[in-house]
């Protein structure tokens, strides 16, 4: 998939490696509502694992079960080989960074961070050393005596992270860690978070609803919906090889077409769609005549004016530009093919719009083309 895998970096591909966190048949019900539905999951040491999904998909409940705030209705959770069923939150080797940060408003930054160590009965001098160390890590050394409401949002976020890290947990749980920050700060903090994880070597499990955040941060992502995992994989796997329509739609955009298999070869599959016969090079187990779906990402389609040269060997169809959305760095084109199927195509804006003669405009006849390994066939 992504070249020759290096097993040290991708332990999930190594059948002999031991998972660090193991969930088996974990279900959580609130009354009649099933928040998490019988899930299995393995997470390996040193991973930065993302639980990604919309609100109410069960990702936060799963995180809270790892932390020990919720007890699974059934199923088991093991962390580093220890069954967590009977272990209350305060005895678990996990720490959490809360979405709201949950900093104690009546304690200074220093006291907040020291709080967890005090509970362990760590010696005073050691507490001071460790607090200093972690404050250096998050670059907050000058703010030790402040109270949380005397800090900016970004500073609070780092105090929350420091407070969770200082106990050197086996597992750090982060609930929407960047959710409360504005866009620019969020992007900057994403990389800081990855660096910090690299330095401390703790396993992170991150809950987020932001796919960009998940794609940038994670070693692997679990896409959740309605209490179930839709797919678990690396960011590339999730984006390039979605296993279901839900995942293809949830992560990025995709043109989704109903398709019927006309030829199921070993190295390729041919399907019949509203755009005509399409050949894909995806090795997927299907039978002739089977109804499937074909997903085609807008950025994987090449757009050209009718008559311009097109890559040899690419699939191509002609269409009519119905609408253009200008987004600055790129534009979204809505192209009507065969007078009935609307296909979305994105193209970078290589030229300024002023040079009209070069750009594609409304009501123009265009040629859409793509490589035969671009479309993805989905059976569900």
């Amino acid at each position: 998939m992504a070249g020759v895998p290096n097993l040290a970096d991708t332990p999930w591909l190594d059948p002999s490696s031991e998972p660090f966190i193991r969930l088996r048949g974990v279900t959580k019900k609130f009354g009649d509502f099933t928040a998490v539905n019988n899930v299995d999951l393995d997470i390996y040491k040193g991973e930065l694992f993302c639980l990604l999904g919309g609100s109410g998909c069960g990702k936060s409940t799963l995180l809270r079960m790892l932390a020990g705030f919720e007890v699974p209705t059934s199923g088991r959770i093991m962390i580093d080989g220890v069954d967590m069923s009977d272990v209350p939150a305060y005895e678990r080797p996990t720490n959490m960074m809360f979405q709201s940060y949950a900093l104690f408003p009546h304690m200074t930054v220093e006291k907040n961070i020291a709080y967890g160590l005090k509970q362990e009965g760590v010696a005073k001098s050691e507490i001071a050393d460790r607090v200093d160390e972690v404050l250096g890590l998050v670059e907050l050394t000058d703010f030790t005596k402040r109270k949380p409401d005397q800090l900016s949002g970004g500073q609070r976020q780092r105090v929350a992270l420091a407070r969770a890290l200082v106990k050197k947990p086996k597992l750090l749980l982060l609930d929407e860690p960047l959710g409360a920050l504005d866009k620019r700060l969020r992007e900057q903090t994403q990389f800081e978070l990855m660096n910090i994880q690299d330095q401390v070597g703790i396993t992170f499990v991150v809950v987020t609803h932001d796919q960009d955040e998940a794609m940038t941060l994670s070693t692997r992502i679990a896409v959740m919906d309605a209490g179930n995992f839709q797919q678990i994989g690396t960011p590339t796997e999730i984006y390039e090889f979605p296993e279901s329509r839900f995942v293809a739609d949830f992560i990025g955009n995709a043109n989704m077409l109903d398709a019927r298999v006309t030829e199921a070869g070993t190295d390729h599959v041919t399907v019949e769609t509203a755009l005509g016969t399409i050949r894909t090079e995806q090795g997927i187990q299907v039978q002739e005549g089977q109804k499937v779906y074909l997903a085609l990402r807008p950025e994987k389609i090449h757009l050209a004016k009718a008559g311009d040269p097109v890559h040899e060997g690419n699939m191509q169809v002609t269409g009519h530009v119905e609408d253009i959305g200008y987004m600055g760095d790129m534009s979204v084109y809505k192209v009507l093919v065969n007078g009935e199927t609307m296909i979305e195509v994105t193209a970078p804006n290589l030229t300024r719009p002023k040079q009209r003669s070069l750009a594609i405009t409304w009501d123009e006849e265009v040629v859409l083309s793509w490589h035969s390994n671009s479309p993805v066939l989905l059976v569900r």
């Binding site: 939150a89 109270k147 409401d149 106990k167």
Partner: protein, 278 residues
């Protein structure tokens, strides 16, 4: 909701305020009336304040009422806080619905019913186990604690619900045992609610007439019982003087509290501004 009052609302507001405050104002003015007949103006004087201060009966009643109010407020705050904690933070337990009902009912229960039922309880108990041997301070205090703790628990419950559980969870997550979480996190954050609960319980106790007059015994006259026994027979200038003292004391107390609240608020705003700076 936005600003902008119509003329109608402004007029109603002023009328409403006049309705609330004119009677009290007149009460105060007539306390300085020399005349023995309250509504007949006989010139300014502080004669009735003197009468009031010289009355041993009044002093005794004030002392008893204050004693009851302080003991009541302290116990009610303690019990009410425990009850509030149990209701909001302990999840489901057996009998929770009944407990919730018992905590909410005293707020709307007619006082005559509460008073009657408590008196009958005390009488029954005293026949069965010989306690309470006589009615007075103890029985009134117990009665007051019973309804005051319900009020305190309501305040504590709404504060706990408003606070959410995240900070407690954070403390648990950092390894604090539940009891430590209570002392380190929950109680400090609950302090303002408990202070207002204490003040409310104190006031409710000072104010109560009906329940006290059911459960009191011979000789144990709280201030409201004393006032009531006097005004039942008509207007009394010394009661006007007493009312004035009470109203002024409360007004000063409330003003101080409001001033302190506002200062706190201003400080908080300043701190937030400081945080937004760097």
């Amino acid at each position: 909701m936005g600003k902008g009052r119509s003329l109608f609302l402004t007029v109603m507001l002023w009328l409403g305020m006049a309705f609330l405050y004119v009677p009290m104002l007149l009460l105060i003015i007539y306390s300085f009336n020399y005349s023995k007949l309250v509504p007949v103006w006989g010139g300014w004087s502080v004669r009735w304040y003197k009468v009031l201060f010289e009355s041993e009966e009044v002093w005794n009643a004030v002392a008893l009422s204050l004693k009851i109010a302080v003991v009541n407020a302290t116990f009610a705050t303690l019990l009410g806080a425990l009850a509030g904690l149990a209701m909001v933070r302990f999840g489901k337990f057996r009998g929770r619905t009944l407990f919730g009902g018992m905590l909410a009912a005293p707020l709307v229960m007619p006082e005559v019913i509460t008073g009657l039922s408590l008196l009958l309880l005390f009488i029954t108990l005293s026949k069965m186990i010989g306690w309470p041997a006589e009615r007075g301070f103890t029985t009134i205090t117990i009665a007051h604690i019973t309804f005051s703790m319900a009020y305190v628990s309501v305040i504590v419950q709404s504060r706990l619900t408003g606070m959410g559980e995240t900070l407690e969870e954070a403390a648990l997550d950092l390894g604090a045992k539940p009891f430590r979480v209570l002392t380190d996190i929950t109680l400090p954050r609950l302090t303002p609610a408990m202070v207002s609960g204490w003040l409310l319980a104190f006031t409710l106790s000072l104010d109560d007439l009906v329940i006290s007059s059911f459960v009191t015994g011979p000789g144990a006259n709280t201030l409201p019982i004393l006032i009531y026994s006097r005004i039942r027979l008509g207007l009394r200038p010394d009661i006007n003087a007493l009312a004035t003292i009470i109203i002024v004391t409360v007004a000063i107390g409330v003003a101080i509290a409001a001033f302190m609240l506002m200062r706190q608020e201003r400080q908080r705003l300043a701190e937030e501004k400081m945080a937004a700076g760097p």
